[in-house]
């Protein structure tokens, strides 16, 4: 019994290492190359990384900021991940995100007199749908004309910038201040995702209680089944360990939220990641999306409507990115202003690949990238290093995580054999 458990444990550790070894190796290698670049520019790498870490995790405010920065990244990471699952490279998350942010801001300041529990969700849904419709365009183009999504989505990014620039400089400009700035008016209080309100309403405690009850009922049922099957008592926990850990996560998050460590957007992002994971792994549509991504010819042969799946995938990707933009507007920025959301969509590429293109993997990956963003300002103030070094390290991470071979060689790791085609060539 004893030996069996240890071997099982070792197996668990090996699986864990196989899963997160490459991303972690990539991060370490990227940070090492970052040291070289910092040395070239005459900065002290130790000071730089110390300041970076302090700015990201040094105290509770820093940690809250890290999670706040991670929130839109989870969404854009999901927007990339779902595209990758269908074999499409959605570089257009940026455009979809700013369209969503714009729409949420519009609903936030143009609609007046609604109670918050209608107004705020309305802004989120409006933003998400705008992003989804904008994201659908490259899906439709790819499905019907074969236009490669990389080019169309990038072009749509520029088009989105032009559209939003025009809106904030013209029809939707904030005219309440003396000096006219290219930005929308501030959204109403009712559309804001300010967190204390939910706590004050007591709703959060009801949700918490519901989750606890669910977990208890679920475990008792599993326990009964387990005993009925006549299995050993101790191995019950080994068998369901990962499930229990997973179920503790929402309680942990809600706890953080109640203690004011979290803004509600992060919770929404985590829930979205779980829903997407469930959809991809457990539903027919998710299965069809994965088949299209793995082998488009097999998908066609199996009678999957490939065109429909492509459009749906891009719709969902745009939905995620748009929701990310909406959450950013209603939770952090409180208005749309060009420059607020720069690069969030592109960071999704790194987040998604670091998360091994797994919806739940985007969460830790986004927290990591979010931590770098949160720490970048501290680094700039304390160590006097331009915050742009973060972009360099991030691109190195992307390089190393994409070039798995290098990392595997350094770590002496074997291949785990899961490969999917990330994106296609010019033609289908």
């Amino acid at each position: 019994m004893e030996t069996e458990t240890t071997s099982q444990n070792r197996g668990f550790l090996r699986v864990l290492w196989q899963t997160i070894g490459v991303p972690i190796g990539a991060i370490v290698l990227a940070l090492l190359f970052g040291v070289i670049i910092l040395l070239i520019s005459g900065a002290n790498p130790l000071n730089a990384y110390a300041a970076l870490f302090q700015g990201a995790f040094g105290n509770s405010t820093a940690f809250v900021r890290t999670l706040e920065k991670a929130t839109p990244l989870i969404f854009s990471g999901l927007a990339l991940t779902i595209g990758f699952k269908a074999g499409m490279f959605n570089i257009g998350a940026q455009g979809q995100l700013i369209m969503g942010a714009m729409a949420a801001a519009f609903i936030g300041f143009a609609v007046e007199g609604l109670p918050w529990y209608i107004h705020a969700p309305l802004a989120l849904i409006g933003g998400a749908l705008t992003g989804a419709l904008f994201g659908m365009i490259p899906g439709v183009l790819k499905a019907f004309t074969g236009a490669h999504e990389v080019i169309t989505t990038i072009m749509l990014n520029y088009i989105a910038i032009n559209i939003t620039d025009w809106l904030v400089g013209g029809p939707l400009q904030d005219r309440t201040t003396e000096i006219l700035l290219p930005r929308t008016p501030r959204i109403f209080e009712t559309a804001m995702l300010t967190q204390r309100r939910l706590v004050d309403q007591g709703i959060i405690y009801i949700i918490l209680a519901a989750i606890v009850v669910f977990i208890v009922v679920y475990s008792i049922k599993k326990w009964m089944d387990w005993k009925e099957a006549g299995n050993d008592v101790r191995s019950f926990f080994t068998a369901y360990r990962s499930q229990f850990l997973l179920m503790l996560l929402p309680i942990f998050l809600l706890g953080l939220y109640i203690l004011d460590f979290l803004h509600i957007g992060f919770l929404i992002a985590v829930i979205a990641a779980f829903i997407l994971w469930w959809m991809l792994e457990r539903t027919t549509i998710g299965f069809e999306i994965r088949v299209v991504g793995t082998n488009i010819h097999a998908a066609r042969y199996a009678g999957i409507r490939v065109a429909l799946i492509m459009i749906l995938t891009m719709f969902l990707a745009g939905l995620m990115a748009g929701l990310g933009g909406a959450v950013e507007t209603t939770g952090v920025d409180m208005r749309y202003e060009p420059g607020f959301n720069i690069g969030l969509g592109f960071d999704g590429i790194t987040v998604s690949l670091l998360g091994k293109m797994h919806p739940l993997g985007t969460i830790p990956a986004a927290i990591l990238v979010g931590a770098m963003k949160a720490g970048a300002n501290t680094m700039q103030f304390q160590a006097g290093i331009p915050a742009e070094i973060i972009d360099v390290i991030q691109s190195l991470m992307l390089f190393f995580v994409a070039a798995e071979m290098i990392v595997r060689y350094v770590l002496r790791m074997r291949k785990d054999g899961t490969e999917i085609s990330l994106t296609s060539g010019w033609t289908k």
Partner: protein, 332 residues
Amino acid sequence: MTQVLTFVRSRQGKTVIGFFAAVVVIAMFYAAQPQVTQAVLSSTIRHSTPLILGALCGLLCERSGIINIGIEGQMLMGAFMGYMVNVWTGNLILAVLASMITGALLGLLLAYMSISLKLNQVIGGTVLNILAVGLTGYFYMVGLTTAGKLTTFPLGPLAKIPLVGPVLFNNGLITYLAFVLVFVLQIVIYHTRWGLRTRAVGEHPHAADTLGINVIANRYINTMIGGSIAGLAGGFLTLESVGSFERMMTNGRGFIALAVMIFGNWKPFGAWGAALLFGFAIAMQTQLNFMGINIPHQFVGMLPYLLTIVVVAGIVGRARPPAAEGVPFEKE
């Protein structure tokens, strides 16, 4: 008579007729408004130069079977290094060389990722793009003084021809280089041994390998030469067009160049025609503003991007890219 008809229906015939139609239209405009026509055409040439150079880069890479999404990044880094060398040495020729070498080095990185590491080439190109944005953003400093920019110089008597002279033969060094490169690549790809081998490698690397062509070396060299041309496009932006560097100044030109390449059916002359069309669309943008037509400038600014989407959506289904493109070569 039938011979004439077949010629008219053929691809070449259509090109020739299109060319003459364009000449006639331009001549008519010139007769009516010489100043405006000349301004628009000069601006067209200016805006098409980085596009044609980018497209030639993509064309060389793709003809040998490497998809290059990283043109944008190669341009940006080329622009930046050209600018920095201009600041350090004050020598514009050295600066042009620096931008080309930078592009070639990034081409080497792309080739290493896609040929040796067998990485997904689209991801590899994206790595280049993000790396370029990060590095240029990090090392860029505001307010450096440069040794000016490449000036235009007329090409002797050729520049005296009305309209054609000032538009075509009164440009800067890199623009002339771009003209020359179009012809050079057309000849290299279709009329030299190297070009034949490159096309073979891009279409059927295994057949090429059987015949003793070194597929890997061919792809490496083409990707690096392509990279240096993209770097030259970046050099055009900082050294000839603007005269200084700005963060993310390439503004999507690398991707538009890909559309130009596709529109031009992976052929140098075709790409040139497409680049001129795109350049014209961008030139109209400024001209419309001058003419006082009251459209928000953002809508006109969208034109090249919209045109790219239309081209990619309308053409790709019918265009035929090199067959082995995007597939890593594995010796059997």
